[in-house]
């Protein structure tokens, strides 16, 4: 256990038994110190969310990948800004201001983020005061120099892409500054996760980002199981991993093709597209849904793998064909010319922002939630986390290529060693027998019967974090999700440095951040 964690535990006012990681309530000073420690690089900020009267901050210990949640009571609606010293928190804080109305003291950026003045209310999860829905203009950050023009792209993009607005300040092709404006697909997911049933919450979380639906359902199930204290059959655990790897495989294949297609190399897209389609069809045959949406539920999975043959055939086929695409990528000089050294993300920034997934791993941050903090069944599986140091588009493609191979490896291992038995335990009996944990002493803390769970799952994009508080009947009192994109989006603004306007789509596609997951 690292010294920071020990220090925080010692300074804690109360310690909540939140599975599998503790949640401690701290005072403002300890909160500030934790913030400084994160800014100094002693730990990584992994999540920041609010509820009426309290702020929560998930901190990841870089040494062993253990998580810890810090809670700060906010009786006067203020909290010391994390973003003041640690920029990655800024957008999370702006979202909290918009949704809850809690004020981060000393925040450098007080512009609205998710709230585009379209909702008709302010702080819908807080006071909910009505406000004009007039879409006030957004002040973009400044850029100075010889006559610059701005390129306003989005929210309705030219391709089949989610909505978001990009504002380039440019001198001809030179990008002087890029600023994102997101929030277009904000659907109020945090509100939907408040006081609802477990089933409804599961459905919503599965649709936070459709491309990572398995990862989200997986994370939700684990958080719910932790909160409710229920177990999962072995076979379900392995099937979940199987689905997660299939999802990763499909998405990586799609991404590799799409990145190359952004350099007008359609051959790669076509062939990767064929493989991707075959993965989705195998998923449909095996689990009854192409994207495997809603297949994972708290307590297990809902569809069993009756016949592993289609999946086996799929892996054989991919093993046969994919190396040729890799060779094609490696041998096409014109393509390499586009990807090498384009969109460079420095390891320093990647570490500071705690960016996960292929983006982080392409910039030397080896973090992979499957390894650490780790979750079953990956401890029993043999695989390597891909890692590159270059941090350019090329490195991000290579990390994805490596991960395709790793996923194939994992799928084969899982199919070979898939345990037998039930695929789900019914929740109701377990809930009845459940031991109610003892809760801490603050007045606004949840009722005694409530319990909490936190789960981190490695999706294809990076680590997905789901936090859940349930009541004794299994209803969801409150939930928070954090998409890996939250920490990846700001870095796209930095990765464009030194690149020209026309190279942005390539950088963007190589990041492939989620809009829906970010906007929630």
């Amino acid at each position: 256990m690292s010294t920071l964690r020990t220090a925080l535990l010692n300074a804690a006012l109360t310690i909540e038994e939140q599975k599998p990681w503790p949640r401690i309530t701290v005072d403002a000073d300890t909160w500030r110190q934790a913030t400084l420690a994160i800014a100094a690089g002693n730990a990584t900020l992994s999540g920041l969310w609010a509820e009426p009267g309290a702020m929560h901050m998930a901190v990841l210990d870089d040494e062993d990948g253990a998580l810890m949640v810090l809670t700060l009571a906010t009786p006067d609606g203020c909290f010391p800004s994390v973003g003041l010293t640690h920029p990655p928190a800024q957008r999370l804080e702006r979202s909290i201001v918009d949704l809850h109305g809690l004020i981060p003291e000393g925040t450098p950026d007080d512009r609205r983020w998710l709230d585009h003045d379209r909702w008709g209310v302010r702080a819908p999860l807080g006071t909910g005061a009505s406000a004009p829905a007039d879409g006030a203009p957004y002040p973009f950050l400044k850029a100075e120099g010889p006559p610059l023009h701005q390129i306003a792209v989005g929210p309705v993009h030219a391709g089949i892409i989610e909505p978001g607005h990009f504002r380039f300040s440019a001198n001809g092709e030179i990008v002087v500054r890029l600023e994102e404006r997101l929030g277009y697909v904000h659907k109020g997911i945090e509100r939907l996760l408040t006081n609802t049933t477990l089933d409804a919450a599961a459905k919503v979380v599965a649709r936070v980002s459709g491309d990572s639906t398995v990862a989200y359902s997986f994370a939700f199930a684990r958080a719910a199981e932790a909160a409710l204290g229920v177990g999962v059959p072995q076979r379900a655990i392995w099937l979940r991993a199987l689905m997660a790897e299939l999802e990763r495989l499909a998405n990586h294949l799609g991404d590799i093709g799409a990145i190359c297609n952004d350099a007008a190399f359609a051959l790669m897209l076509a062939h990767c597209g064929i493989l991707r389609e075959e993965v989705l069809r195998a998923c449909k045959t095996a689990f009854g849904h192409r994207l495997m949406m809603d297949r994972i539920i708290p307590g297990g999975v809902i569809s069993d793998l009756d016949d592993p043959a289609p999946i086996k055939a799929l892996t054989t086929r991919i093993r046969q064909r994919f190396p040729r695409f890799v060779e094609l990528y490696d041998n096409t000089a014109s393509l390499q010319n586009r990807t090498v050294s384009t969109g460079h993300l420095s390891p320093e920034l990647a570490r500071r922002f705690g960016v996960g997934g292929p983006i982080g791993r392409a910039s030397g941050r080896a973090f992979d939630a499957r390894k650490a903090p780790g979750y079953p069944p990956y401890g029993d599986l043999d695989f390597k986390a891909a890692k590159r140091e270059d941090g350019d588009v090329n490195a991000r493609i290579w990390v994805r290529i490596d991960e395709v191979y790793e996923s194939l490896e994992l799928i084969e291992q899982i199919i070979d060693r898939l345990p037998t038995g039930p695929i789900a335990y019914p929740l109701a009996p377990a809930l009845r027998e459940r031991r109610v944990p003892q809760a801490g002493g603050l007045a606004h803390e949840p009722r005694d019967s409530a319990s909490e769970g936190l789960a981190m799952i490695e999706g294809f994009r990076g680590d997905v974090l789901v936090w859940l508080r349930t009541d004794e009947t299994g209803g969801v009192l409150r939930g928070a999700v954090r998409d890996p994109s939250v920490f990846q989006w700001p870095l796209l603004e930095a990765a464009i440095e030194g690149n020209i306007v026309a190279d942005f789509p390539l950088c963007n596609k190589s990041f492939n951040c989620s809009y829906s997951g970010h906007d929630l």
Partner: protein
Amino acid sequence: MRDAENRRAGYVYLLMASFGTLMLLLAFGLLAGPDGDYAFSAIRTAEHVPWLAGLVLVLMLLGAGSKAGLVPLHVWLPLAHPAAPSHVSALMSGVMTKVAVYGFIRVVFDLAGEPAWWWAVLVLILGAGSAVLGVLHAVLQRDLKRLLAYSTVENIGIIFIGLGLGLAFKTNNMAGAAALAVTASIFHAFNHSLFKSLLFFGAGNVLTGSGERDIEKLGGLVHRMPETAYLFLGGCLAISALPPLNGFVSEWLILQAILLSPDLPQWALRFLVPASGAMLALAAALAAACFVRAFGITFLSRPRSPAAETAHEVSRWQIRAMYSLLVVCLIAGVFPGPFLDALSPVSQMLVAGAMPKQPILPHLSIIPISESRSSYSGFLVFFFIMMASWAAIRVIHNFASRAVRRAPPWDCGFPDASPVTQYTADSFAQPIRRVFGPIAFRAKISQTMPQPGDLAPARLTLSLRDLIWELIYTPIESAVLFAAERLNILQFLTIRSYLSLVFAALVLLLVLVATWA
């Protein structure tokens, strides 16, 4: 600000004009020879020592070249031409530079006797250099009138390329080819005086109508000054050498002349001529980019400043004067034959040859050398374009839906009325600056982009260096300053020292006179 600029322009103009005049006087002096007979007929019949004639050429290039705006003697032109009122600018750029061209032709082709082949080398290099450097500067300008002034430098370069070709052919007794080159060159001078005046008048209208000549602050004038826009566009098409207007005809003729040069015996010329052809083509293409930018930023898009928003059309008479220029441009482009025929006595006199008589009928086409080599019919091209557009419009109007709806511009679903969301003139030129800048301007950029979460403004700094100014004029300037400082001590000598200086000078002069004879 503007005053200081004008003062500087005036100063540089004065210096360069005196320098040019000095060179011209020296050239005339050399031509007139020891007898001092300045009559053309006398000079023409006089025998010229070859190296003296060469010196005359160099002096003419310095003298007439500085007056016409040949690189590197052009520096005064982009300062002085825009400083004048627009109709005067039109006169300066359109007509006055042509006087210098006339002087050059008169002396070098007519009076200085048989040219040597290296004369052509010199003229071609200066012409090609002027053409490309002039237009490269023009592409980067944001002052509309200065842009036009730089474009004058370019066109002077084109004219000199033609003259250089003429010299090359003349020295090798290829009268037909020389006639073609010289005719093309003079025709281009004529054309340039037309469309450059038109463009300067247009720039004047813009200045009158909006009070602004910085194109970064203009935009959308096509709606507020429709007639000026129409006329300016005509000028842009002509100067960009696009058929069926006149600029194309003269540049086409020069290119045709270049195609005749493989027969030249001198190796230097054989290499130089195609190279200057490439430069000419490059200059023409850059000119198109330059004038797309000039017209597009000034007249199209949305207004970039209140001045542009409240611009108004100028008076009818100003417009009418311009129409007449445009009509002549069109006539010279569509029916160039008679113009070329009219120039044949000139080429006869200068190079003892003439282009073939241009047939009025059939086809109204022009023939530079012979029908089998090449021909061009401005009229037919014009006619075909008109017919094809007419046909397209007819067919479309008869068979297509005629429904039209006005809607907001497609803005990706994010309305932002701010004019900053459209291209700036500087942005438009950036790619060209990036490609050609390192050679011509030593363009350097430095950039600070704040990291994510840092709200400080991003910054781009750009430094452009005018290499010609730095390599030629700055050293002269510092040499003059240096000398002045040294000579300054002469002010503080004793009477005795002054007297001895006077005495020494006298002795020196006497010795000189004694030894000269």
